[in-house]
């Protein structure tokens, strides 16, 4: 207790120091944090190190920590035709994120701020589409793609990834929309805003961090999706994850080159994540109310 008994100033003796509660000290706590963080990052560090090694150095036991770094593996990756795969992935990802946001934002608005009839059912339906294990759908999807002549076609992936991301994006966007203060939207209406103005000038800027988060999730998903990509595409429409498996060959593994390819594959997502982070940390509606 920190209250001071003003009624009895005579007893104002020297304050007794309060006993410190036994807690994990800040130093050991941050040490623990670092250990865990490094544990998680270790495979990535390993990948980065390996990617700069010669193939021979990548195999040694114990692992070589001191080696002459080289960019040979990156050149090798490019030579093996990495760029078309990268282009496919980029095309699919950008398009999927755009389409998802174009549909998810109005859908989320209609399910939160101005809820339509049957909102709960719609939400349940969206969620239910995520309950099917994706393996269960692969045979019908394969047949349909074949019939539509969409095998080994990036558009097949665009359609699939959009439909897989959309439910999640709607749910996410909805929860962000629900946090938009009602009075702020009413204030905008009183100020003279019609629906488009309200949406573009008020709601979207306020939920921008939510949009960034949703977009990031879609980027990560589309960039790393492997199962459909490997089953529905081949040389022409293959994405980066499909390219990576190409290193697991019957002649053996090319560790260093695989690491270099993996590093190149993860860089775009890391960059996007880093950009999105700046938007994510901003409080959602800080300062709007109270």
């Amino acid at each position: 207790m920190t209250t001071v008994d003003t009624a009895t100033p005579r007893h104002a003796a020297a304050p007794v120091p309060r006993k410190r509660k036994r807690r994990i000290g800040p130093i050991s706590l941050s040490a623990l944090t670092w250990v865990i963080a490094i544990l998680f990052v270790f495979p990535l560090i390993w990948m980065v190190l390996t990617s700069f090694k010669q193939e021979a150095d990548a195999y040694t036991d114990p692992p070589k920590l001191v080696f002459g770094p080289t960019l040979d593996q990156f050149a090798g990756v490019i030579d093996r035709g990495f760029l078309p795969y990268l282009a496919n992935s980029a095309f699919v990802t950008v398009l999927v994120v755009l389409i998802v946001l174009i549909f998810a934002i109005p859908a989320a608005y209609a399910l939160s701020i101005a809820p339509v009839k049957g909102t709960t059912n719609a939400l349940g339906f969206f969620l239910s589409t995520k309950m099917l294990p994706i393996v269960a759908a692969i045979i019908p999807l394969y047949v349909i793609s074949q019939n539509l002549k969409l095998l080994d076609n990036v558009w097949a992936l665009v359609i699939l990834y959009t439909s897989m991301n959309l439910p999640l994006a709607i749910w996410m966007m909805r929860s962000f929309f629900l946090e938009v203060p009602t009075e702020m939207m009413e204030a905008a209406r009183v100020d003279g805003a019609n629906l488009p103005t309200l949406l573009y000038k008020i709601i979207l800027p306020v939920v921008a961090p939510g949009i960034a988060a949703t977009a990031l999730i879609c980027v990560i998903f589309s960039w790393t999706e492997f199962f459909y990509a490997v089953n529905l595409t081949a040389a022409r429409a293959g994405t980066v994850p499909v390219f990576l498996v190409g290193f697991i060959t019957s002649e053996g593994l090319y560790w260093a080159q695989l690491a270099a390819a993996a590093l190149l594959a993860s860089l775009p997502v890391m960059i996007v994540g880093w950009i999105a982070q700046n938007h994510l940390v901003r409080g959602l509606s800080m300062g709007a109310v109270k």
Binding site: E186, R189, D191, A193, A288, V289
Partner: protein, 355 residues
Amino acid sequence: MAEVVYADASRVYPGAHQVRAVDRLDLTVPDGEFLVLVGPSGSGKSTALRMCAGLEDVDEGAIRIGEREVTDLPPKDRDIAMVFQSYALYPHMTVADNMAFALRLRKMGKEEISTKVKEAAAMLDLTKYLDRKPKALSGGQRQRVAMGRAIVREPSVFLMDEPLSNLDAKLRVETRANIAQLQQRLGTTTIYVTHDQVEAMTMGDRVAVLKDGVLQQCASPRELYDRPANVFVAGFIGSPAMNLGTHPVTEAGVTLSGLTVPVPRGRLGGLSEVTFGVRPEALDLVSDGGFELSVKLVEELGADAYVHGELADGEKMVVRVDGRNPPRLGDQVRVGLRDTEEVHLFHPETGLRIP
């Protein structure tokens, strides 16, 4: 500048149990008046205000602002400005942009907007903060931005929904005075919702008391205090509340725990009982006469003290006494009326004032 008329306006929430949130509100706010809507929570005061703003449907009756019927117009076409309890500032805009938003939507010229925003900012002492975002402002400053956003629009009517309830006590008193002054200076018709009856009494030209969606009385603060129209208003206005109790009527007047207060029989119209109300400040300690009160609680406020006690029959009563020498807990004191004119009589069943 315009008067606001609620013509039997109702807001009915449909459903199995229809709720008449605002029930046939008939109220005229003359041009330039500061009208306060006051009532306990759920009384429909905010709903009534939002009906005027166009944020709530008017299910029956009509609302007029000036000469125009606005019942079915959207908020933006009503020429009103509203200040919300949460301030509802746009967090991604600077103070200047917050204030300019409505003007930009009206396609007003840049120069003119800038002039108006600066004027309003100067009036509200916000000039220094024009480039800040709301999150970098204190509560009081945010409140002023919300006011500024309303002022720059130069609307016919200001609507304010408990704009002070998020401020701390000291700032609230200060801002209360500022808003009242500002309204006088601008002369804009204002409807102000509050649950705080001190705000209601100090700010309003007139005060409208609502309960369960029904207007109880609309009058000047003095009139409300001196001549409450019914038991509810009597109990709601004044702090601490008026002492109210139902007591038998005798030949000589109303008998209150041994004390008979003379009331002309003619006034009572043959009632055998009457609801008798007397404010704590109309009572005082007396050395003899009066009635006996056992003291259960003494609230000392400095200049005054409020003695909470019980009559012999268990009825509770509050008496305002001099703060210098209040009775102590457990004392038996005698209480008398300062003035027999300062009693309020209400019909025991209808609760209406007996004139």
